[in-house]
Each structure stands twice: as structure tokens, then as C-alpha cells.
């Protein structure tokens, strides 16, 4: 029973994310953060790991995130053996992913009938004008809390007094930023390369300590 309730909740949370996250893979991040705060299924640091894995594996980022969260959540159910843990995780992954796509599949099946009218509808365009601004603002805010965790090592902005500025993280962030934006050729590299380099640097400098 406990499993069913958790899976139902998982489906519902991802259904909402699928309906309201507009504008690409990163748009799901603020919603996942909200889920993390409300349910405690995964931590904010887990979320950052999930983003890295989703960016470096095939498939749409939003779907990868849903699968990852679903797996993590499902496998936290008290299974008796690692095999059952993994099985509960796989079911969770499937449920979260189905939840994420349900809304959009229904909406597309409905609007496919009047494609052109929908695209040129002025209310749709006007709403999108607001939604785009909201989407960037939410992603930026989600980014801030990941910065707090990864670079300043604090959980919340209200803990700013105890922020420890980790110089190594700061330098790494600055180098990646410059490389991904200003160095020709290098900035064309796939994010997976930067993720792998960062992993190597993390190991060399014991950044997890």
C-alpha cells in the first residue's frame, strides 16, 4: 500500500511538472526543486548530480531527469534485497516519466487538429510572452540554489552567514564559464566534455571533502 501511495504521488507531481514546465529541459529544474522541498525524496545536491547525468546521456533532458528522480524515489522504498530495490526503482522511473509526458501527449493530440490556428493565436502568443519570462526567472532561481550548495556549501540563502567560499570551486566555475562562453572552438564542445573535466578536477583536488 505504501508503494502505491508513493507511486501515485510520484505520478501526480510529475504530471504537474509536465503541464507547467514550458521551454525545454532546464525548465523542469525549478519544479524538481519544488518537489525536493515538499517531499524530501532527494536532496538539492542529488538534483545537481541528476542534471549532470541527464546532460551527459542520450535522450531529452527533461525525460532523463524524470527517470532519474523516479528511480531514486522508487528505490528508497524499503526493499528487502538490492534486486527488489532496483525493481521498485525501475517502476518509479517508468511512473515518473509517464507522468511527465501524459499532459503534453493529451494536449498535442487535441491541438493537432487545429495546428495553424493555435500557432498564430494572439492569446497563445501573449501568454507565451509571459511564460518565457517566468521560465527563465525560475531556472535562474533554481540555479542560485544550486550555486549555494555547490560553491558556497550552504543549503539556503538565509544561511548566508555560514557561507564558506571554496576557492577551488570558484576558480573551476570561472574557468568553465570563460571556456564555454568566450573561447572559440572550445565553447562548441558538448557539455559532457566539461562535465568529465570537472569530475577529473574534483577527484584531483578532493573537492568532495
Amino acid at each position: 500500500m505504501e508503494e502505491l501511495a508513493l507511486y501515485a504521488r510520484l505520478y501526480w507531481e510529475f504530471f504537474k511538472t509536465g503541464v507547467f514546465a514550458i521551454g525545454g529541459g532546464m525548465a523542469t529544474v525549478p519544479f524538481l526543486q519544488d518537489i525536493s522541498k515538499k517531499t524530501g525524496w532527494f536532496s538539492a545536491a542529488d538534483l545537481a548530480n541528476m542534471i549532470a547525468v541527464s546532460e551527459s546521456t542520450p535522450g531529452p533532458i527533461g525525460i532523463n531527469m524524470a527517470t532519474y528522480v523516479g528511480f531514486t524515489t522508487g528505490s528508497t522504498l524499503a526493499g528487502s534485497t538490492p534486486f527488489i530495490d532496483a525493481l521498485l526503482g525501475v517502476i518509479g522511473a517508468i511512473i515518473a516519466t509517464l507522468g511527465l509526458i501524459t499532459g503534453s501527449v493529451i494536449i498535442i493530440l487535441i491541438i493537432a487538429k487545429f495546428l495553424e490556428q493555435f500557432r498564430d493565436n494572439r492569446y497563445v502568443n501573449a501568454a507565451m510572452y509571459g511564460l518565457r519570462a517566468a521560465s527563465v526567472a525560475l531556472i535562474a532561481a533554481a540555479g542560485v540554489s544550486i550555486v549555494l550548495i555547490s560553491i558556497f556549501r550552504i543549503q539556503n540563502i538565509s544561511d548566508w552567514r555560514s557561507a564558506a567560499i571554496d576557492v577551488r570551486c570558484f576558480i573551476l566555475a570561472a574557468v568553465i564559464f570563460v571556456a564555454t562562453r568566450y573561447i572559440p572552438k572550445v565553447k562548441k564542445w558538448h557539455p559532457i566534455i566539461f562535465i568529465l573535466i570537472s569530475a577529473g578536477i574534483g577527484i584531483i583536488f578532493h573537492m568532495g571533502a
Binding site: 542534471i51 547525468v53 494572439r122 531556472i139
Partner: protein
């Protein structure tokens, strides 16, 4: 389901034999497994698989689906799969194609997640993840910079951005509430303005004797906001 297909496909591609649901699933699973990153990154692969290797879609249809995918909820890749599946095999096709495109993610991510779970306690893995999290900060920052150009197009949009950003950094407000509020603000702010723009554009279009305009340049020459917003993020990134 035939008369409502895209007008740009006025000459239907010969007779299309009925595609099996299984092959719909399989083709989209293949697309899902071959694309890194989603969004516009997968455009070339979708084009190759669906219009070059098969006569399932025209390039115009793909561009239309992408444009609609951007103003509907959900992942663009999944939206495109739903559209294509529906075109080929009706509602069941739409559902099967959507399941197909998410299938590889479920397999791959599940494998990686369970590996990470088993090794996460090791110190080198912890160190690597700490480094990766720093990189993720920059990836998010880059996503914000990229989206910023097409989203924050004027002062009211900037104000919305600031309000929503501050509200979600400092308070625990559900993102759903902010998304809905922003949509309503958009309609209140631009619904009427756009109406005038649309009327002007329509008269221009009549004057030029053209009624259908390509994606991305649709009837809003008079509204810079709309035009800027509809440009593909890809084009901007290329600079």
C-alpha cells in the same frame, strides 16, 4: 484526420502504406537513443530519420511541430513524437511514438542511477560529483543566458523576470502559481497590443497578396516582441 494536416503539404506524398505501431515505437526509440541534449540539438536527427530516410514528414511539418512544441507544455522531442505518431496512426500512434522516444532514457538512466547509488559512498565518486556540481552551475547559467535573449525582450518582461526571480529565491512559492500568473500577465499586457499588430500585419499581408508566412516570421512584423521570441534559440546561439 486527413483534411486537417498541414497546408504546406498540399501535395500529399504518394500513397503512404500503413506503418505498424511497433515500427513507430522502434523508430522513435532509435531517435531517443541517438540524441544528446534534446530540443534543437535533435533537429538534424529527426529530419534525417523522418523525412530523408522515410517519407513520414516534410521539413515544413517538422518546423511547425517544433514551433508548436515551444509554446506547449512538455519536452519538444516528445511533442514531435506525439504529432508524428498521430499523423501516421491516429491517437494510438501518438501514444506509442511518445512511449518510444522515452524508452531509451528509462533504460540508460536507470542503469546509471543504480551504478551511482552503489558507488556514491566512495570518496573519489564524492569528489567527482562535487566537481561536476560546480560545472552544472555554469551549465544552468549558460541556459539562462541563452533563454534570456528570447524571453526578456522589453521592460515589462524584465520586471516579470525580476519579480519572479526574487520571489522564488527568497520565498517558498510554488512555481506553478508563478507560471500561471505570468501567463495571465502576458495576456493582459500583450493580448490587446498584439491584436492591433495582428490587424496591421494582416492588412500588410493582404496588400502583398500573401497569407501564409513561414514559421518564425508569422504575421507579427509589427511586433518586435513576437518576432524576437519566435526566432530559434539555435540561430542566436550560433553567434
Amino acid at each position: 484526420m486527413s483534411e486537417n494536416e498541414n497546408q504546406s503539404a498540399a501535395q500529399p506524398p504518394a500513397v503512404q502504406e500503413k506503418v505498424s505501431l511497433w515500427s513507430l515505437f522502434w523508430i522513435f526509440a532509435k531517435i531517443g537513443a541517438m540524441t544528446f541534449g534534446g530540443g534543437y540539438a535533435m533537429l538534424p536527427i529527426i529530419t534525417r530519420e523522418l523525412c530523408e530516410n522515410r517519407d513520414w514528414l516534410t521539413e515544413d511539418e517538422i518546423m511547425d511541430y517544433f514551433a508548436i512544441g515551444q509554446c506547449t507544455p512538455g519536452v519538444i522531442a516528445v511533442n514531435t513524437a506525439t504529432f508524428t505518431g498521430r499523423k501516421m496512426r491516429g491517437i494510438a500512434g501518438g501514444i506509442v511514438a511518445s512511449l518510444g522516444i522515452v524508452f531509451p532514457s528509462i533504460v540508460i538512466i536507470t542503469a546509471i542511477a543504480s551504478l551511482l547509488r552503489n558507488f556514491a559512498h566512495l570518496q573519489p565518486v564524492q569528489d567527482a560529483l562535487a566537481g561536476i556540481r560546480v560545472c552544472v552551475c555554469i551549465l544552468i547559467l549558460n541556459a539562462v543566458i541563452k533563454l534570456w535573449k528570447s524571453a526578456v525582450v522589453d521592460i515589462p518582461a524584465l520586471i516579470m523576470f525580476i519579480v519572479i526571480f526574487l520571489a522564488s529565491v527568497f520565498f517558498d512559492i510554488s512555481p506553478i502559481i508563478m507560471v500561471v500568473a505570468a501567463g495571465v500577465c502576458g495576456i493582459l499586457l500583450k493580448g490587446r497590443k498584439q491584436e492591433q499588430a495582428a490587424i496591421e500585419a494582416a492588412s500588410d499581408a493582404v496588400y502583398e497578396g500573401k497569407t501564409d508566412v513561414p514559421v518564425g516570421k508569422s504575421a507579427n512584423s509589427a511586433s518586435a516582441e513576437g518576432a524576437a521570441a519566435q526566432n530559434s534559440p539555435d540561430g542566436k546561439e550560433a553567434r
